[in-house]
Amino acid sequence: MDTNALVEGILGGNRRALARAISHVEANTAAGREVLARLYARTGHAQVVGITGSAGAGKSTLVGAIAREQRKRGRTVGIVAVDPSSPFSHGAILGDRIRMQDLTSDDGVFLRSMASRGNLGGLSEAATGVADLLDAAHFDVVLIETVGAGQDEVEVANAAGTTVLVANPGGGDEVQSMKAGLMEVAQIMVVNKADLAGADTAMTQLRALLSIADLGPWVPPILKAVARTAEGVPELVDAIDKHQEFIRGSEHAHEERRKHAQRQVIAIARAILHREALSTANASGAIAALVEEVAERTRDPRSAAEELLETVRREWASQGERE
């Protein structure tokens, strides 16, 4: 399929075109970038929701439950489930469909599994792009599942309009560690597995953390859910709607859109810069010698890094002159 076929297919509801375009965006091909550029004006209709939290928190089960609730409300749902690639083999086993089997037979749902591919900040760019494709394909709701473990995942959360942080009872330490970054990007907190002991304690801990967080005009609600039985899920969907109204309809709408756009532009620019600088540095062959010097302690890492960047700047400047 060429880019015209992809663009027209997506706008016309062709699922195969959508699936192909997602592969292009995921691999950051020229065709993928062109499709995104052409479709961007057709996005902005979907509510894009990030679901994040630690491994095993019940994110996939919750995403399935949210999707079912949204279907009951007559909305179509696109889902992106991101799992880490193996740092050794670069392969991945993507098993999120297991918890959403029934949704596979529903025309109003499209589910795509994505491996993080450890690609230099490119995950956030890719996940944002895939969400945009689903948005342009007229899905009313886009759900992005990521494990909330590192910078990449925080950036994926940033790509969403509304981010839901999933915590568990008895995860006192886990709740503590969430302070680092995730608290600030989540607009809704949910204690999942509330059928287990300790849910109220976890809610109290979250409340205490929120009370010292640096909040804007939106105060994140703290909810309870049992994803397995869908208990608390209608209330969660109500809370998501409320936040979407806040970012779209309220006096804050323009400011929220601007902040969101700024986060996206900066995240993508950072990813491109990172990739291009490293690729120039690698091509120049400067890294190996500098690394050797640091390993031998004949040079300190900071000055080696500066020297490396100086090489990159010189290389870019001479490329500029040649053009």
């Binding site: 699922r15 699936a19 592969s23 691999a27 690639s85 469909r97 089997q101 596979t104 037979s105 491109i272």
Partner: protein, 136 residues
């Protein structure tokens, strides 16, 4: 601007009613360790679910694992569901318990690889690497 190398994407599914997925998981892990992205759907998949997952995940390869003996009934239906969705360029392979007498029939409907119990996973990896269609 560089384009990242794309790992081969493979769907591993278990059609039919048998609930043993040990073999399917061994294959999934072996392909993962060989650098592929494996979408594992779990047990008791209908042909529609398998074909729809293959479409949505845009995989190059679909591997079916079956122990129940219903392969001659289910595999043609998977092929048909794939075709009706326009998914006509995936590499198909099958594993599990498939009597020798049935292998030809399964190859004829498009399964290029048929692997019995005790197959070395390296053979499956090599088969997938050598035959997976390229994606432009």
């Amino acid at each position: 601007m560089t384009t990242q190398a794309r790992p081969i994407r493979v769907l591993i599914a278990k059609p039919g009613l048998d609930g043993h997925d040990r073999g399917a998981k061994v294959v999934a892990r072996a392909l993962r360790d060989a650098g592929m992205e494996v979408i594992y759907t779990g047990i008791r998949q209908t042909p529609q679910m398998i074909a729809e997952a293959a479409l949505q995940e845009d995989v190059q390869v679909v591997g079916l694992s079956i122990l129940s003996g219903a392969h001659l009934e289910l595999f043609p239906r998977v092929v048909q569901e794939l075709k009706s969705r326009g998914v006509d360029d995936v590499l198909l392979f099958a594993g599990g318990i498939i009597p020798n007498d049935d292998v030809d029939a399964i190859r004829t409907i498009g399964f290029q690889g048929v692997f019995g119990p005790g197959t070395d996973t390296n053979d499956i990896i090599a088969f997938v690497r050598d035959n997976a269609p390229n994606r432009a």
